[in-house]
C-alpha cells in the first residue's frame, strides 16, 4: 500500500495547477460562459503543453502516461474553474473507444488531432427514453455492400459543433436480423449528419451539446469501430474511463468550491470576527474537506486500478457517484458561505454550483451506476 504520488505525478499536478492559474482568466471565463462559447484558445494551449490525452500513447501525440496522471490534470483544471475545466477535460470524450478498440488507421487518423488540439471527440450514445439501460439502441446501422446506412437520433452529444470524430453507438442490422450493438466512427462535419443545439442549460454552458439526427446516413465499412461481436462490451469498457474522468471532474470542482469558500471565510468579517472563526462555518468547512478527501481517494483508486488493468467497474461507479454528489454538496455549501455575494454571477461560485449539478450526466447515468454496484454486491438472489 502506498498513498504517495510519484515525483513525476506531483510535477504534473503542479504544472497543471500553474497552467490553470495562469490561463483561466476570470473575465474571459465569464464572457465564454455568457455566450456559451468553447474555450478554444485555452484548449489549444493545453494541447500544446500536452495536458490533453495524457494517457494516449506517444506515437499518437499523447504522453503515454496513465489515467491517474490524466485524473490529476482534470482535477486541477476543474478546481481552478469548473466551466473551462470541464470543457477541456471532455475534449477527448469517447476517445477511449478509439484507443482501445480502433484499428491502426482509425487511431492514426483521429488520435493525433485530439492530442494536438485540432479536434475534439464526441460520443453519441444517449437516446430518447433510454432509461438506465444501454443494452439496446433505437439508432440502427444497416449493413449493405457499400458500408452502413444509419437511421435514428442521439441526445446530449458533447462537442458536436467542433471538428473531429464522433463515435456513434447503434444497433447493427444484418440482412436478416438485429445483431449486437456496434460503434461507428465518422467525422462530425460531413453531409447528411444533422446536428442541432439542445439549447441553454443549468451548467456546462461552454460545451456544445447537441442532438444528432441520422436519416439514411451512408458511411463506409472503414468507419466500423472494433469488433461486431463485442460492441456492447467495448462500450461498457470505455465508459470505465469516462466515469473515472467524471469522478475527477467532480473532485476538482468540489476542491475548487472549498478553496473559494476558505478564502472568503478567512477574509469576510461579521459581528467583528472573521466568519471562518464561527463554529457553524468551521464545521461546514470541515465536512466539506472530509467529503472531498473521500471522493478523491476513491477516484484515485479507480484510476490506479484502471492503469493496472484491474477491471473494477464497481469502484468506478462508486467514485463517480460519490464525487458528483460531493461536487454538488460542497459547491452548494460554499455558495452558502458567500451568502448574497454567492448568488451574484460575478462570484464564480455560482457557476461551480451550476456546473456541479451536471457532473452526474457525464458517463453512465446514476441509475445505471447504482444497478451495476447492486449487481456486484448482491450477486445472485
Amino acid at each position: 500500500m502506498d498513498f504517495n504520488l510519484t515525483k513525476e505525478q506531483k510535477d504534473i499536478q503542479k504544472a497543471a495547477r500553474e497552467f490553470a492559474q495562469g490561463e483561466f482568466d476570470l473575465d474571459v471565463a465569464l464572457d465564454l460562459e455568457k455566450k456559451g462559447h468553447y474555450p478554444s484558445e485555452i484548449h489549444k494551449r493545453a494541447c500544446e503543453l500536452g495536458f490533453i490525452g495524457m494517457h494516449i500513447p506517444e506515437r499518437y501525440g499523447g504522453q503515454g502516461l496513465g489515467l491517474l496522471e490524466n485524473v490529476l490534470v482534470v482535477e486541477e483544471f476543474c478546481c481552478q474553474h469548473s466551466g473551462i475545466g470541464i470543457a477541456l477535460s471532455l475534449s477527448d470524450f469517447g476517445s477511449e473507444m478509439l484507443l482501445q478498440f480502433g484499428n491502426d488507421a482509425q487511431k492514426e487518423k483521429y488520435l493525433h488531432s485530439i492530442t494536438n488540439g485540432e479536434a475534439t471527440s464526441s460520443l453519441a450514445y444517449l437516446e430518447k427514453d433510454q432509461g438506465g439501460n444501454f443494452t439496446s439502441f433505437k439508432s440502427i446501422a444497416k449493413r449493405n455492400d457499400n458500408g452502413y446506412l444509419i437511421n435514428g437520433n442521439k441526445l446530449f452529444v458533447f462537442n458536436c459543433t467542433l471538428s473531429g470524430p464522433v463515435i456513434i453507438l447503434c444497433q447493427l442490422e444484418n440482412k436478416t436480423r438485429l445483431a449486437e450493438n456496434g460503434a461507428l466512427v465518422i467525422e462530425k462535419h460531413i453531409d447528411g449528419l444533422v446536428s442541432s443545439s439542445m439549447g441553454s442549460r443549468i451548467g456546462m454552458r461552454m460545451i456544445p451539446m447537441s442532438e444528432l439526427t441520422f436519416r439514411n446516413l451512408e458511411v463506409s465499412h472503414e468507419c466500423f469501430l472494433g469488433s461486431e461481436e463485442q460492441g456492447q462490451t467495448q462500450f461498457m469498457q470505455s465508459l470505465n474511463k469516462t466515469n473515472i474522468e467524471a469522478a475527477a471532474i467532480g473532485t476538482g470542482i468540489a476542491q475548487g468550491g472549498l478553496n473559494l469558500a476558505l478564502l472568503y471565510a478567512k477574509q469576510r468579517e461579521q459581528f467583528g470576527r472573521k466568519i471562518g472563526s464561527f463554529e457553524a462555518i468551521r464545521d461546514k468547512l470541515a465536512d466539506m474537506a472530509t467529503k472531498i478527501e473521500v471522493a478523491r481517494l476513491l477516484t484515485y483508486k479507480a484510476a490506479w486500478s484502471f492503469d493496472r488493468n484491474i477491471l473494477n467497474s464497481t469502484v468506478n461507479c462508486m467514485a463517480k457517484m460519490i464525487s458528483s454528489e460531493t461536487a454538488l454538496e460542497v459547491a452548494r455549501d460554499s455558495l452558502h458561505i458567500f451568502g448574497g455575494y454567492g448568488y451574484i454571477v460575478e462570484s464564480k461560485i455560482e457557476q461551480f454550483y451550476r456546473d456541479a449539478s451536471m457532473v452526474n450526466i457525464i458517463g453512465t447515468p446514476e441509475r445505471t451506476d447504482k444497478g451495476l454496484i447492486a449487481d456486484q454486491v448482491i450477486g445472485k438472489i
Binding site: L155, F156, M198, R201, R332, G340
Partner: protein, 381 residues
C-alpha cells in the same frame, strides 16, 4: 384544533391558483430569460387585491389575514417565485412596518398605495459590510433643521428602480437628542429624494427579473417626518416585520418545492405508463413519497406560523422553523427532482432548471440558515 381553511382563505387560495396557472405560469420562463419586470401581471395582482390582503379596507387592503396572504404567496410562487418575492418585500415587510409603526399621515401617504398595489416598497437593511450582522451597519442619518441627511449605501435591495417602486425603508444610525447616544432608526426614502441613487442591477444566478440593486445615499435629504416609528426602535421594528418576512420566505420556498414536485410526478407518470409496477421499481416513487411528505410538512409549518400571527400569539420559533425548514427542503428537492428528470431537466426548456437556480436563494435571503438557527437556539436557551 382545526386544520380547515376558512371560506375566505380557500377563496383566496383557489383564485390565486387559477390566476397563477392561467396568467403567470405561461410567462414564467420568458420573465426569467429576459429578466424584465412583469408590470402587467403585478397590475392584475393589484386589481385582484393580492397586494394588501392582511390590511384593513380603509388602508387599501382586502381585510383578510396573514394565513390568506401566505396561501396566495405559495400559489403565486408555484408559478413564479418573483411574485412571491415582490409581495415579501412590499406587503409582508414594508407595508406592514408602516401599518404597525407609521403615523396616520404616513399610512395615508404610503400604506394605501402599497396595499392597493399601485406602488411597490423596498426594504433596505443589508450593506456591503453588514449582511448577517445587520446591526453592524454604517449608513448614517443626521438631522439638520427639518431634514435627515443620509449617507451610506445598501446592497441586494429588491423592488428598486421600477416605475412603480415608490419608497425604500432603510435602517440608519442616528443620534438621539436626549443623550446623544447612537441608535438605529428607520427612515422612509422616496425614490425621488435628492441624493438618492440606484446602482446597476445585479446579475443573479436565478430570479433574474428580480429588480435587485445597490442603493447609494450621498447627502440624501428627506423631511424630518419621514422617520418611521420610534427613533431608537428602528432595529426592533425591523426585526418584528422581518419575522413575518421569514414566514413569507417559507411560503415561497414551499411554492417552488411544490412546482418541482408537479414536474416530477408528471414526468414519472409518463415514464411509468403501466409497464412498470412499484414492485419492480421503487427508487423514484419512494423518492416522490418523501418529497410529497416534506412539502406537506413545509406547508403546515408556515401556515402554523401565520396562524399564530393572526391570533396575535408569539411565533418567533415557528417563523424561524418555517423559514429554515422550507428553504432547506426546497433546495434539496430541486436537486432530487433534477436527478429524477436527468438528463432532460438540466435544459432550460424544462422549468426544473429554473427552479434549481432560484431555490438556493431562499437559504440566504431574510437571514441565512445560520441566522435562523441562531435565533432558534437563543429562543430555546
Amino acid at each position: 384544533m382545526d386544520f380547515y381553511l376558512s371560506k375566505k382563505q380557500r377563496a383566496i387560495r383557489d383564485m390565486t391558483r387559477k390566476f397563477a396557472r392561467e396568467v403567470v405560469a405561461p410567462r414564467a420562463e420568458e420573465i426569467e430569460r429576459t429578466g424584465e419586470h412583469p408590470y402587467d401581471i403585478v397590475a392584475q395582482m393589484a386589481e385582484l387585491g393580492m397586494m394588501g390582503i392582511p390590511f384593513p379596507k380603509k388602508y387599501g387592503g382586502s381585510a383578510g389575514d396573514w394565513v390568506g396572504l401566505h396561501l396566495c404567496i405559495e400559489e403565486l410562487s408555484r408559478a413564479d417565485i418573483l411574485l412571491g418575492i415582490i409581495l415579501d418585500a412590499s406587503t409582508s415587510i414594508v407595508a406592514q412596518e408602516i401599518f404597525l409603526f407609521g403615523t396616520e399621515e404616513q399610512k395615508q401617504k404610503w400604506l394605501i398605495p402599497l396595499a392597493q398595489g399601485k406602488e411597490l416598497g423596498a426594504y433596505g437593511l443589508t450593506e456591503p459590510e453588514a449582511g448577517s450582522d445587520s446591526a453592524g451597519l454604517s449608513t448614517t442619518a443626521v438631522l439638520k433643521g427639518d431634514e435627515w441627511i443620509i449617507n451610506g449605501s445598501k446592497q441586494f435591495i429588491t423592488n428598486t428602480n421600477l416605475d412603480n417602486a415608490s419608497i425604500v425603508i432603510i435602517t440608519a444610525k442616528t443620534q438621539r437628542d436626549l443623550d446623544g447616544k447612537m441608535v438605529i432608526s428607520t427612515i422612509v426614502v422616496p425614490k425621488d429624494a435628492p441624493g438618492f441613487k440606484v446602482g446597476q442591477k445585479y446579475e443573479k444566478m436565478g430570479m433574474r427579473a428580480g429588480a435587485t440593486h445597490e442603493l447609494f445615499f450621498d447627502d440624501c435629504r428627506v423631511p424630518r417626518e419621514f422617520l418611521l416609528g420610534d427613533i431608537d426602535k428602528g432595529f426592533a421594528q425591523h426585526l418584528t416585520v422581518l419575522q413575518t418576512g421569514r414566514i413569507t420566505v417559507g411560503a415561497i420556498a414551499t411554492g417552488i418545492a411544490q412546482a418541482c414536485f408537479d414536474e416530477a410526478i408528471a414526468f414519472t407518470r409518463k415514464s411509468f405508463q403501466g409497464n412498470q409496477s412499484l414492485f419492480t421499481s421503487q427508487r423514484v416513487p419512494f423518492n416522490l413519497a418523501d418529497i410529497a411528505m416534506e412539502i406537506e410538512l413545509s406547508r403546515t409549518m408556515y401556515l402554523k406560523a401565520a396562524w399564530l400571527k393572526d391570533k396575535g400569539e408569539k411565533h418567533t420559533l415557528e417563523a424561524h422553523f418555517a423559514k429554515l425548514f422550507c428553504s432547506e427542503t426546497a433546495t434539496k428537492i430541486t436537486s432530487e427532482v433534477l436527478k429524477i428528470l436527468s438528463p432532460y431537466g438540466y435544459l432550460d426548456k424544462y422549468p426544473i432548471s429554473r427552479y434549481f437556480r432560484q431555490a438556493k436563494l431562499f437559504e440566504i435571503i431574510e437571514g441565512t440558515s445560520e441566522m435562523q438557527r441562531l435565533v432558534i437556539a437563543r429562543e430555546l436557551m
